[in-house]
């Protein structure tokens, strides 16, 4: 395999793995966060405004770790610097 094929295969495979493994942790964390929030909502319905607000902020913070992984895999797929470098080298030769 030449270097372009290797770069393409590695980028595509790693992009999938990045999103796959990167969303596993945040998924578990979001589940825990929502479960705990539901429990406290059932215990203290009066504090629902505060709990909901904090829950949303917390969920977005947790979700942002998954988003980082997604951004990395999107960069690997659509704006890969190594791929551009290989293309430029192939065009130069």
């Amino acid at each position: 395999m030449d270097s372009m094929t290797i770069i393409a295969v590695a980028s595509i495979a790693i992009a999938g793995l990045t999103t796959g493994f990167g969303t596993m942790g945040p998924a578990l964390a979001e589940g825990r966060a929502v479960a705990t929030a539901l429990t406290s909502l059932a215990q203290q319905p009066d504090a629902s405004a505060t709990i909901t607000r904090t829950l949303f902020v917390g969920l977005a913070m947790i979700e942002s770790t998954a988003i980082y992984c997604f951004v990395v895999s999107m960069i690997l797929l659509f704006a890969n610097p190594f791929w551009s470098h290989a293309i430029a080298q192939a065009a130069g030769n």
Partner: protein, 233 residues
């Protein structure tokens, strides 16, 4: 497939490029400025008021209350900065229902600019709040050893602010684009609705995080509570 509206170029002269991000940002600025000019042109103080004035009053009072909840006792002095951040991000997320519009926050340049505003604004508010010496000293708390780590945290949270907003807005557009090619009829609409929700939540997050950073920078940390400061109007 485009990663961001940066790659949509309307006009180019030499190295000057007018891409979709800049054009849509200008459009949003026009809408926000002209809209608020039109609404605030005749404000009424009595009970009868226009519905647009009601809308603006709801937005402003809600933002003030949120800023106050974070711990900033005088929300008016921070409303200009934080409210602008919130309104820009929220309106750019809201305008995604307009066909052909791409949110300028889906470009890393815009979100990095917003995050840099926060990076510069937080020390300014901090110095204004507690003086130059005490603000700089807060970097060396609890010990001098923490100085580089405090600086690193300042930089990394700016990066996180920028990438979080960019990733959320970009992923919304990207998922809709992918779904359009698979199931063109129902699911893109549902995902657009979800994108509206995440857009508003992200605007709120951006705003509340900036408020929290400013609150952390302006508050004078003292072990004993001040009784006279607690007495509000």
């Amino acid at each position: 497939m485009r990663l961001s509206p940066d790659e949509m170029i309307f006009w180019q002269y030499g190295f000057l490029k007018l891409n979709a991000t800049i054009a849509f940002t200008w459009g949003l600025m026009l809408v926000l400025v002209i809209g608020s000019k039109l609404i605030t042109r005749r404000l009424s103080r009595d009970l009868k008021r226009s519905r647009w004035q009601n809308l603006l009053e709801i937005v402003v009072t809600a933002l003030e209350k949120q800023i106050e909840d974070v711990g900033l006792s005088q929300p008016r002095s921070y409303l200009g900065f934080l409210g602008t951040l919130f309104l820009f991000v929220a309106v750019s997320a809201l305008f995604t229902v307009v066909p052909g519009f791409e949110p300028p926050t889906g470009s890393l340049s815009t979100t990095a600019a917003l995050a840099l505003c926060v990076l510069v604004g937080v020390p300014l508010f901090g110095i204004e709040g507690q003086g130059m010496g005490r603000y700089l000293k807060s970097y060396m708390e609890p010990t001098v050893i923490m100085l580089p780590f405090n600086i690193i945290s300042e930089i990394s949270r700016t990066l996180a602010l920028a990438v979080r907003l960019f990733g959320n807005m970009m992923s919304g557009a990207m998922i809709i684009g992918i779904l359009l090619s698979i199931t063109p009829f129902v699911f893109p609409i549902v995902m657009t609705l979800l994108g509206l929700l995440t857009g508003m939540v992200q605007a709120y997050i951006f705003f509340i995080l900036a408020a929290v950073y400013i609150a952390a920078a302006t508050q004078v940390r003292k072990p004993e509570p001040e009784p006279e400061a607690a007495l509000g109007p």
